[in-house]
Symmetry: C2
């Protein structure tokens, strides 16, 4: 089984600054990398989170990798596909 | 001045299959690469477009690069920042 990655911020429907704060806090606590993940319509907010964190708050942190994929979700009406994104930020200090 | 990239699909508010069809058509017409671009809330739909095109319609095409950035937009109420994404698909045949 794959080990769940530490230092992951899951982006949902809250205001974007909540997630920016979560990312910045993890780097301030010494995380070498933080993964920002989202599915479906929250994908736009995940990109906003990364852009705001990098442009306004984080020095020496860069985008390391951006991955997209398709996940199969079980719903009441059967299985459905949803797109997901993972943006990995890395501290280069 | 930078040459505008050919073979670009700008994703907006139309149904996602419109954009999938545009991407598939460009590859069928011989394009070696197609760039899928979107800003703001359409970013999620751009990811959907790439995932659906790759998973259902395109053989031998892969994600080459995913870029995100922040653009400054002039609006009636002043300048505002908006996130953008560019997903570059490449035909490896």
């Amino acid at each position: 089984m794959q080990q769940p990655r530490e230092n992951t911020v899951f982006v949902g429907n809250k205001p974007v600054m909540n997630y920016v704060l979560a990312v910045v806090t993890q780097f301030n606590n010494g995380a070498p990398e933080v993964a920002i993940k989202a599915r479906g319509k929250a994908i736009s907010r995940a990109v906003d989170t990364a852009e705001i964190a990098l442009n306004r708050f984080l020095e020496g942190v860069t985008k390391k990798e951006i991955l997209t994929s398709t996940e199969i979700i079980d719903t009441d009406t059967g299985k459905t596909n949803v797109s997901s994104i993972e943006i990995i930020l890395a501290n280069n200090k």
